[in-house]
């Protein structure tokens, strides 16, 4: 939600969800059907509440019961991973890369590593653009990916990697020369055009988030003593999301 409010392209989020959806479905099924022992242990219950049963005749899943607790646990894991995935675009798209760079440098992280991070951030959009034009080139050779079966499609997709990697390697060689000619040595001894100053707003945000997490952690411990860990973790994730 927060990610959406921050004005990040909706299409990007939809794509992200599309990409991760199969994994989540798989997670949900596994948790609901198979992960009986761990869920029992976590909820301290002997018998799980059944939601529905699979018909006997089905292979693998035949006769298994889809449990309510397992489903909740699955949703919990999904929310956890989603938080991690969504925090990244929130951070990258809403901040100026220069500010991130200088922030990291002031955290005493070696400039070499900071430079790798910042050039990765610049490099990725370029990589996607070049992957797009490679796929277009394949279409131009008459390869209709939409009409292929999954196996052939995968085989064709894997060939995209060849020009992608070779081009990237080629570019990195050029980049090496470019950086040398710009006196880049990777040493942390350098000056910066931008300055980051922490304003009172920044301090306020930091303090309030610290306080928030403090309260959450206290809540967890308080609730844990009441033997409701499953409920608690789910609540916590909802808060984050």
């Amino acid at each position: 939600m927060l990610t959406l409010f921050a004005g990040i392209n909706l299409g990007y989020l939809v794509n992200l969800l599309k990409l991760t959806f199969p994994f989540y479905l798989l997670l949900l099924v596994i948790m609901g059907l198979f992960n009986i022992e761990q869920v029992k242990l976590l909820t301290h219950k002997e018998i799980l509440t059944p939601l529905f049963s699979m018909p006997q005749g089905w292979p693998i899943v035949g006769g298994l019961t889809f449990s309510q607790e397992g489903t909740l646990y699955g949703i919990n894991i999904i929310l956890k991973t989603l938080t991690m995935i969504l925090v990244l675009p929130l951070c990258i798209f809403t901040s100026n890369i220069n500010q991130i760079v200088i922030g990291l440098v002031r955290l005493q992280i070696p400039y070499k590593i900071v430079f790798i991070i910042s050039s990765t951030l610049i490099f990725f959009p370029q990589l996607f653009a070049s992957a797009g034009s490679i796929i277009e080139a394949q279409k131009l050779r008459g390869l209709d990916l939409e009409k292929m079966n999954l196996f052939t499609r995968f085989k064709v997709y894997s060939t995209v990697a060849v020009p992608l990697i070779l081009n990237a390697m080629n570019q990195s060689q050029v980049l090496e020369v470019v950086l040398q000619s710009k006196a880049f040595s990777g040493s942390s001894q350098r000056t910066y055009l931008q300055e980051t100053k922490l304003t009172s707003l920044d301090y306020g945000v930091m303090a309030s988030s610290l306080a928030f997490w403090g309260i959450v952690i206290i809540c967890i411990f308080a609730l844990e003593s009441e033997n409701l860990p499953g409920y608690c973790t789910i609540r916590q994730e909802n808060l984050q999301f």
Binding site: K139, G142, D144, K147, T152, P163, N167, V177, Q189, T191
Partner: protein, 568 residues
């Protein structure tokens, strides 16, 4: 004159290479001069340029030389120190920009050199003014046009306040507007600020106009250094080294009994023509009409096509156009004029906002991607994005396997296609082990293996040297003679009059002109209005028409020469 860099018997061999990239180069560079370096692909031009800032011997190999730049030995001085004195601008506008904004790009090298922040801030405005990019400080480099990106790269190099500025093919990926921007910027730096310039470029016309001296490299050896007049005027030896002379020199080089030194710039050409006319009268030139009207149904019909990008930019504005079977059509215009967008509609890669494209009277949307690819072959710009396999043979056969060709048919069509493009002896080589010109031919071979009726070449000559460009255009001519419909998109007008029959000029999503080549090339004012420059022979023949009060609509150097030849 004060020498700013001296190379004394410089030889260099890359690690693991069998042959020397440079051999016994002696070259002195003087303060404030504008030196052009020319040579075919693989002649060692880039290696030579990297010697000046000391990067080349860093990848140590067999080195035995003395090279000094601004009084420093390039072998003993660290690159970071040399980089203060030598600014570099590279070919690819994308790769060389590492900053996140225009001002950060300029600051990057200065930051690396620990220049204090106040000093960096003070240096940014003057260099932006020098390349006319004031007001762009906060923009991201990605938002700039190609010409602006290269100017930014020049600004970043200037911020170091170097003694010497080296540009390695800075315009080869730019459209004519961008090329003009870059050359005029460099010229102003050289003339007004006395900056020493070394530039590697295939743009012969510009080099002849701007350079003080031109150096010719071939296979790692320095063949010749001289004034543009001395180098470009020697048309014969240029062609021996596979280099293209300015068209003016080519035209005068073919004149029989031309008593003066061969002019290399348009201005010199005009005055040479004036004096030559006093010696010899030209015969009148009869125009052949090479453009037969076509009554048959068009192979490709575009009806009221309009396309608006998702962000609201109107890319195509109500375009209607017929292309007939067997035509050779040239699409020209600046980047962003809508050429590629239009062509993508032929292949159903974009869905029109309005209007439609008919292929043999059928809307393209009705045809599958596979069918369309077998009917229209499109050779996209960057060959390196289109190579997926480990041998040339497999590369050409790649798509056929998925198009359900029988093994025998694959074998046959691939063999034929490879032989047609003279790639048969390379069939087992890795595509990327071949030079750029041949890589482009592999892609053409892969497209031709599907035997399409229409072949579209998108900027086939970009990044190719003269020999490579000619080889590709010869293929297009061959295809045309076989009865195929050929469509070429290009900026390089001077290469095309021998090949194209019809020229379509596009600008801002509209068709500005659709005419037979000769007529189109002589609409010089219209071409200029969209920053395309007609070849020098066109200007020369207009001048000739003015002087003689006769109509000379000449297109090529050979036609110009034929006006002065005795009729056999």
């Amino acid at each position: 004159m004060k020498a700013i860099a001296t190379l004394n018997k410089v030889s260099y061999c890359y690690p693991n290479a069998r042959e020397f990239a440079l051999k016994d180069i002696d070259l002195t560079l003087y303060q404030g001069e504008f030196l052009g370096i020319i040579g075919a692909t693989g002649a060692g031009k880039t290696t030579l340029s990297l010697i000046f800032n000391g990067i080349v011997p860093q990848f140590t190999a067999e080195v035995f030389w003395v090279a000094t730049v601004a009084g420093m030995d390039t072998l003993e001085t660290p690159v970071s120190q040399l980089s203060r004195r030598v600014g570099m601008v590279f070919e690819d506008p994308e790769v060389q920009l590492t900053g996140t904004s225009v001002e950060n790009e300029i600051a990057f090298a200065l930051e690396n050199l620990c220049v204090p922040r106040a000093e960096i801030i003070a240096r940014i405005p003057p260099v932006l003014a020098a390349v006319r990019l004031k007001g762009y400080e906060k923009k991201a480099p990605g938002e700039l046009s190609g010409g602006q990106k290269q100017r930014l790269a020049i600004a970043a190099a200037l911020a170091l306040q170097p003694d010497l500025l080296i540009l390695d093919e800075p315009t080869s990926q730019l459209d004519p507007v961008g090329t003009q921007e870059v050359f005029s910027t460099i010229q102003a730096l050289n003339r007004e600020r006395g900056m020493t310039i070394v530039i590697i470029s295939h743009a012969a016309e510009e080099m002849a106009t701007y350079a003080d001296r031109v150096a010719v490299l071939s296979q790692g050896r320095l063949i010749k250094v001289g004034t543009p007049q001395e180098v470009y005027g020697d048309v014969e030896s240029l062609s021996y080294y596979c280099l293209r002379p300015p068209q003016i020199a080519e035209a005068f080089g073919q004149l029989p009994e031309f008593p003066y030194p061969i002019p290399v710039t348009l201005e010199a050409g005009k005055s040479a023509l004036r004096s030559f006319l006093e010696l010899k009268k030209p015969v009148s030139y009869s125009l052949k009409n090479t453009y037969p009207p076509d009554e048959a149904a068009p192979i490709l019909r575009i009806q009221n096509l309009q396309y608006i990008y998702p962000n609201g930019t109107q890319a195509l504005n109500n375009i209607s156009l017929d292309i007939h079977a067997g035509e050779y059509v040239l699409f020209v215009g600046q980047n962003g004029a809508g050429k590629s967008t239009l062509v993508k509609h032929f292949l159903n890669l974009l869905e029109p906002t309005q209007g439609q494209v008919l292929v043999r009277q059928r809307p393209v949307q009705e045809l599958s991607i596979g069918k369309l690819a077998r009917f229209i072959g499109y050779v996209a710009q960057n060959p390196d994005n289109q190579i997926f396999n480990s041998t040339v043979f497999q590369e050409v056969a790649f798509a056929l396997r998925y198009l359900n060709y029988s093994p025998r048919l694959i074998e046959e069509s691939v063999t034929k296609s490879l032989q047609d493009l003279k790639l048969w002896e390379h069939r087992d080589a890795h595509p990327l082990s071949l030079p750029k010109g041949e890589r482009a031919r592999i892609i053409i071979a892969a497209i031709l293996a599907m035997n399409p009726e229409i072949i579209i070449l998108d900027e086939p000559t970009t990044g190719q040297d003269f020999a490579g460009a000619c080889a590709i255009l010869e293929i297009s001519r061959k295809l045309h003679r076989m009865g195929k419909t050929v469509i070429v998109i290009t900026h390089h007008l001077y290469l095309m009059p021998d090949y194209a029959e019809r020229v379509i000029v596009m600008g801002k999503g509209n068709i500005l002109l659709d005419a037979p080549t000769r007529q189109a090339y002589h609409k010089a004012d219209l071409l200029e209005s969209t920053y395309l420059s007609p070849p020098q022979v066109v200007w020369l023949s207009r001048y000739l028409s003015n002087l003689t009060q006769e109509d000379y609509s000449l297109l090529t150097a050979a036609e110009f020469a034929s006006c002065f030849k005795p009729i056999n």
